[in-house]
């Protein structure tokens, strides 16, 4: 594997620093703006959004609810009122459009923590660690749902680090910092992308609408790939890239269809060859002259 300092260097040289960090910066702005919108209330008394990611009310009209926690509540035997149900449907529709796990990379506050752990891990060159199956998160998802079903309570929310962090920042963290620190240390020393990429049942849940979601990253110009591996190094879900990027000879289209792609767009940033682009899942023809996306893209290269 390449040395850490070299990852993305080629992209910076060929595209310039800003274009080579475009999606990363947009993503961090998205995560931070959402957090700030929530914090404006408790910190400055400006109530744009009330509540937290479990359920919120925006501008006193728009209800948004986490469909995962609403599902757990329903399994626990409680039929939520229409406000929560409507909120969950709105959120589900949004992620059906934008890619299920876009929640993870564009909204989830814990992502900043785990991305930092991942960055630090590359930076100080920590290798190896515990190998956990990436399927574990689906088992955990099933267990959390079963626990709700059989206990009649939303048990997972007692420890869920994702809601713990967001709620803690807004309502008081208490000992919650220890839970967040545990996730950070786990990702740093024990397992690479261990939480988001292997264990988190919240991400596993949001990957489900991702099975159908419209917006996807596509390796549109995959024939230009020079195997520099930069995208693999930065990708939190490395396994999703290969089928699309190297699928030409197997007649597999260039769109990354895996529901676990978080649409973070970091692969687009670090690719000096401009292989990747955001597109829709429908433009997935195996024909490499993937016309309409290529046109705009070529212009960019020429200019």
């Amino acid at each position: 594997m390449k040395r850490f300092a070299d990852v993305g260097k080629a992209a910076v040289t060929s595209k310039g620093w800003l274009p080579a960090h475009k999606w990363l910066l947009l993503r961090r702005s998205s995560q931070l703006s959402i957090l700030i919108l929530f914090l404006l209330g408790p910190w400055f008394g400006i109530w744009v959004v009330k509540g937290n990611l479990a359920s919120s009310l925006t501008l006193e009209v728009l209800p948004l609810s986490d469909p995962y926690v609403v599902l757990q509540s329903m399994l626990a035997g409680h039929l939520p009122e229409s406000t929560a149900l409507l909120g969950a449907v709105v959120v589900l529709l949004f992620y059906l459009l934008m890619g299920g796990r876009a929640y993870c990379s564009w909204v989830c506050p814990l992502n900043i923590v785990t991305d930092t752990a991942s960055w630090l891990r590359r930076r100080i060159g920590i290798k190896g660690g515990s190998r956990i199956s990436r399927q574990t998160r689906y088992w955990l998802l099933a267990v959390t749902l079963l626990l709700a079903l059989f206990s009649g309570t939303i048990m997972w929310e007692l420890i869920n680090p994702v809601s713990q962090l967001h709620r803690g920042l807004l309502f008081g963290m208490g000992f919650g910092w220890a839970v967040i620190a545990a996730v950070f240390l786990f990702d740093l020393f024990i397992s690479r992308n261990g939480w988001c990429g292997h264990l988190c049942p919240v991400g596993a849940f949001y990957s489900l609408p991702g099975l159908l979601s419209i917006l996807r990253v596509s390796a549109v110009s995959r024939e230009r790939c020079d195997d520099c591996m930069d995208c693999f190094v930065v990708c939190p879900e490395q396994q999703v890239i290969r089928p699309a990027l190297k699928g030409a000879e197997n007649n597999i289209g260039p769109v990354i269809l895996s529901p676990n792609c978080t649409n973070c767009g970091r692969c687009i940033d670090v690719c000096a060859q401009n292989v990747f682009q955001f597109g829709t899942r429908f433009h997935n023809s195996t024909n490499s002259s993937n016309t309409h996306l290529m046109v705009g893209h070529n212009k960019e290269v020429i200019s």
Partner: protein, 285 residues
């Protein structure tokens, strides 16, 4: 072909090993979380839930921990539990001794709840049952000591209904009255204003969850006087005359008031011990 079969065998063994590992991991996870959840479900006695919350278990299945009730509470009474507290992490609660419920007439916390974990059929805050006040310590309560503190009675939003003052004879001084605060469960909402206002260093009156505060009569119990009133006459057949040998001066069913001692006509003492005391006080002066 042999090598293919061998490879399949290895794969099968690996698959079985991996699955077993995962399944045991999940079992351990579920066991740990389940035990922790059981512990948390037993809400500590000082923790009160917002108005309209049902039983603790139902509430933990219905509350999604969004904190909207906390945001709409105008008195900062409600707070969300943090993980180190004994209350289920993220759920709303309050401590009466710190900030009691002010019993807003429009019940904004219930209105804010998006899931119905706080029951929207609760329209009158006087119908809320967050707990039940109990005058726990009769040894330190100032009213029991004979003072006119009355603070719990005065601050009660349902003064005269949820807490009344019952006059009693003060046997210590012999000539004063005690005004005993008595909580009535049919009216007390458990808002906690009495506990908050109690002037003692540690409150003598405390709001407890109803399950801890109330006794339950056996289902077969019937209160004779109530049954009598309902039926309009005594449900017990008139007693036949007893023919037991009773000790001297004892008569059965004396003047319709049951077994009692007849006061000898020549007794120098009055029935009422107060008369005796008053006589002596009068004689001394």
């Amino acid at each position: 072909m042999i090598s293919m079969q061998h490879k399949q065998g290895v794969n099968r063994r690996r698959f079985l090993a991996d699955s077993t590992r995962l399944a045991s991991g999940m079992l351990l996870f579920a066991l740990g979380l389940g035990l922790y959840a059981r512990k948390v479900e037993s809400l500590p006695a000082i923790a009160l839930r917002p108005p309209g919350a049902g039983g603790e278990k139902d509430f933990l299945g219905a509350c999604i921990r969004c904190g909207l009730c906390v945001r709409d509470c105008p008195y900062d009474t409600l707070k969300l539990a943090t993980p180190e507290e004994d209350v289920a992490s993220g759920t709303p609660w309050f401590e009466a001794r710190k900030i009691p419920c002010e019993m807003c007439e429009d019940i904004p916390c219930v209105k804010a709840c998006p899931t119905g974990a706080l029951d929207k059929t609760l329209l009158d805050i006087d119908e809320a049952r967050m707990g039940l006040a109990v005058l726990m310590d009769q040894e330190t309560c100032l009213n029991y000591l004979g003072l006119r503190c009355d603070v719990c009675y005065r601050v009660c939003p349902l003064i005269g209904k949820a807490i009344t003052l019952e006059p009693q004879h003060n046997p210590r001084s012999g000539k004063h009255a005690l005004f005993i605060p008595v909580v009535h469960s049919e009216a007390c909402t458990g808002c906690g204003k009495c506990e908050h206002a109690c002037v003692l260093d540690e409150a003598a009156i405390k709001v407890l969850p109803e399950r801890l505060a109330k006794g339950v009569l056996g289902r077969h119990y019937r209160l004779g006087w109530e049954e009598k009133e309902k039926a309009g006459h005594s449900l017990v057949a008139p007693d036949t005359e007893h023919r037991f040998n009773l000790p001297g001066q004892m008569k059965y069913d004396y003047e319709g008031e049951g077994l009692m001692r007849k006061q000898p006509a020549d007794s120098p003492f009055s029935d009422n011990p107060l008369d005796t005391l008053n006589q002596r006080a009068g004689g001394g002066s």
